[in-house]
Symmetry: C2
Subunit: 149 residues, 2 copies
């Protein structure tokens, strides 16, 4: 059988033939304890499906971009910031990140947070918040507490 | 909060705001005990993410098409036929269905089989096997046994 047709999950959050990658280039943006795996990318598909795993207490980069994220939690639990709203996320919850919405994912301190993310294969680069954007975000105490956790 | 940003899994394989749909138009193609849910579709995304659930003993349609399927098992277990190969699938296994590969998913008799399927938003219609294609498929005893299960 072509190994490409069927790839088994060999352990929780690890698959045959799927390398575990650095989340981002070191130093390119602030994040903590995140891995990235590309589960599906194909010249004939308009999107990629990636799996990110944030270790307990870790977080993804606070960023925004024109492209949309379609997210499903696959493991553990945590909290998300999307467009100024903070909410808890649990197994199989769905999160849609609209264009140019500031967003960040944080694992709980005692659980990892693993999630699928479907994204256009061709997409713009993420933007990081400048001082003015951080000021606007942190005007909401709930958002400020989330970012500073 | 916009309900569109965060939709919770309210029970296994059921989500807020996600209707459970018929798999196909009744009588359009042979299948048994399958439901369909569209988890993500967005004008800005090149793909949709759907969730299909096959009840114990049920099966999807045996079909092929030009568009590619990117599948992840989300619940239960079963078996798949892809391009003449039959194999067992379990939680979080990845299955890629190439262009024009005959394929079918079957749940085990004692377990449902739920799976995510990423697919281009714009895609061709499935083709059903004619007598000649069925003859070619069933030349392999393993495939014949799978189809006739």
């Amino acid at each position: 059988m072509s190994e490409h047709i069927h790839r088994r999950q060999r352990a929780a959050g690890l698959w045959d033939e799927v390398p575990v990658l650095a989340y981002k280039q070191d130093g390119a943006a602030p994040f903590r304890d995140v891995t990235r795996q590309v589960l599906f990318e194909h010249a004939a598909l308009g999107c990629q499906l990636r799996y990110f795993e944030v270790a307990p207490g870790g977080h993804s980069t606070l960023e925004r971009h024109e492209h949309v994220h379609a997210v499903m939690v696959l493991k553990g639990r945590g909290r998300a910031l999307v467009g100024g709203q903070v909410f808890a996320v649990e197994l199989h919850d769905l999160v849609e990140v609209p264009a140019l919405a500031w967003h960040q994912f944080r694992a709980d301190t005692d659980e990892p947070l693993g999630f699928l993310c479907m994204v256009n294969a061709v997409r713009d680069r993420p933007q990081l918040p400048d001082a003015e954007s951080m000021g606007e975000l942190c005007a909401d105490p709930a958002v400020a507490a989330f970012i500073r956790t």
